[in-house]
Amino acid sequence: MIASLAAVVIPKFGQDSCARANKTFCWDWFRQHWGSTFEPRLVEHIKLTAIAVGIGFVIAFSAALLAHRQRWFETPFSVVSGLLYTIPSLALFEILVPITGLTVTTAEVALVSYTLLILFRNTLTGLRGVRDEVLVAARGMGLTGRQVLWRVELPLAMPAIFAGLRIATVTIISLTTVAAFVVDQGLGAPILNAINVDFKTEFIAAGLLAVALALVADLVLVVTQRVSTPWARRAAG
């Protein structure tokens, strides 16, 4: 079932003395292979992550809105997304491959399922955290239910929603490396290669890139949140 193992690529060491000596990290080799290996892998990784978090957010957000209005919906969705969250990722791939094959779909279904619990919980907590007197004032001034949701509740839930997005994104960036077991995509592919090869640079570079990507993504989300919720910062300070 493991596609990428079949296509092991032995790194072309070329003239690089560092690579031939297989030192811990060969900077020149990394630079030479940036365009052919690392950049496309990084882009794939970002795409896989973005699609997973995007779809996961749409599902979890809609579910949270429903649970906010219809309390009964909270428990079933929490139970299902909680179950999905606890299934080990490799096991989930095993379950999905017979259905959806060794495809991006399989990878994404698994990745999306890991975002649901966090995004659902945080969105719902954010919506429920809006203070009662704020809602009473809003309704008392004649805002309709929909206006209260979009103009008051959701903006005030933003910090909690962003907190969820940050955890989900960092988690998925890390998990996406495991998706290389089903599709030959993302930074997981070079890491998986390295299992069969003695050469360390490729493996270390891909791993560090995944970590760097997680840090950058987190930073981007923090900055976006700060810019979009200036009031939250002032309230804290």
Partner: protein, 357 residues
């Protein structure tokens, strides 16, 4: 949280002239009639408000007062239908609230609550602009109105505009809450213990400023409080609710203090009701005998001094009279203990009643 550089305003109070918004009719006030209104919460035997009937004339402040759990908030929230009426109806200018469009009804009523409920994610200006935006006013008109209202409630129309609620003191937040409620110039204001969570000194200032403001804007106001002193000070009329939401007495503060309807009201207004009545009149309101020609060694008090303060001045000095003086210090008349006693005697109240009808 008080931001650095914020200077508390002195007793200067509110500017009394505001350029009128040309598109809004000024001084409109609604008549409100509670017509046998009853509220029974689901699953309860006893009503929270029981067959409440009272008429609030346009432009008056009606204070609802009573013990905690007496149904004051329930009565108030039935006006803008945050709570559904079980029986009866509330008429605003003759129109029953039960038959009105909910959003339209609420947008036409200013609503102020103790916890203010400002939107934390909106600036002061955006908070105030809430109802005008819902009503579809254009930007320029809204910006004008916001500036005007900030000035009206004693905030800085430029510096305070862009602040967030978390950057304001409690008193400033309540001022913004008041401005927000007044934004679309509603003919009716509902205020549920608006100054209840504010320190005594700021509360007194806000009360005074609101009364001054009300003299200018002349809204109909339903004002809930549990503080009898606040009720006496703020109310043109006071409705006292007893436990179970029954109306115990509805009259002017003076009449309630002079003639409590029953033991419950007498106990509620307190044994010092005679002294409380003295706060309602100023020595300038009395007909005074002329002062003695030479009054250099007499106590003096301005005409705006309340009878209670005048009494206190005399008692503190062991005297039984003082000379009332005008703003320039000229003697206007003589105030004696007897004169003060006569002013609040039951006979005087009856006479006044006779003169009114």
């Amino acid at each position: 949280m008080r931001r650095p550089g914020w200077v508390p305003r002195g007793g200067g109070g509110l500017p009394l002239t505001v350029s009128p918004d040309p598109d809004t009719p000024r001084g409109t006030a609604a008549e409100v009639v509670f017509d046998h209104v009853t509220k029974v919460y689901p699953g309860r035997q006893q009503p929270a408000v029981d067959d409440l009937s009272l008429t609030i004339p346009p432009g008056e402040i009606c204070v609802l007062i009573g013990p905690s759990g007496g149904g004051k908030t329930t009565a108030l929230k039935m006006v803008n239908r945050l709570i559904t009426i079980t029986e009866g109806d509330i008429l605003i200018d003759g129109r029953g609230v039960r038959g009105l469009d909910l959003a339209e009804l609420r947008r036409g009523i200013g609503y102020v609550i103790q916890q203010v409920g400002l939107f934390p994610h909106m600036t002061v200006a955006d908070n105030i602009a809430t109802v005008p935006r819902l009503l579809g006013w254009d930007k320029a008109r809204i910006a004008n109105r916001v500036g005007e209202l900030l000035e009206l409630v004693g905030l800085d129309p430029t510096a305070d505009r862009k602040r967030y609620p978390a950057q304001l003191s409690g008193g400033q937040r309540q001022r913004v809450g008041l401005a927000r409620a007044l934004a679309a110039d509603p003919p009716l204001m509902l205020m549920d213990e608006p100054f209840g969570a504010i320190d005594p000194i700021t509360r007194e200032r806000l009360q005074d400023e609101f009364l001054r403001l009300q003299r200018e804007i002349g809204k109909t106001v339903i004002f809930v409080t549990h503080d009898i002193d606040e009720a006496v000070k703020m109310g043109d009329r006071v409705a006292i609710l007893r436990e179970g939401g029954k109306l115990a007495q509805y009259d002017t503060p003076d009449a309630i203090l002079a003639r409590p309807a029953d033991d419950f009201v007498a106990r509620f207004v307190g044994a010092d009701r005679g002294l409380k009545r003295l706060t309602l009149s100023r020595i300038g309101d009395l007909e005074l005998p002329p002062a003695p020609a030479a009054h250099d060694d007499e106590l003096t008090a301005r005409l705006t001094t309340s009878l209670r303060d005048a009494l206190s001045i005399m008692l503190a000095d062991g005297r039984s009279q003082l000379v009332a003086v005008d703003d320039d210090g000229n003697a206007v008349g003589l105030v004696t203990l007897d004169r003060i006693r006569a002013a609040v005697s039951p006979e005087a109240a009856a006479e006044e009643e006779g003169a009114r009808t």
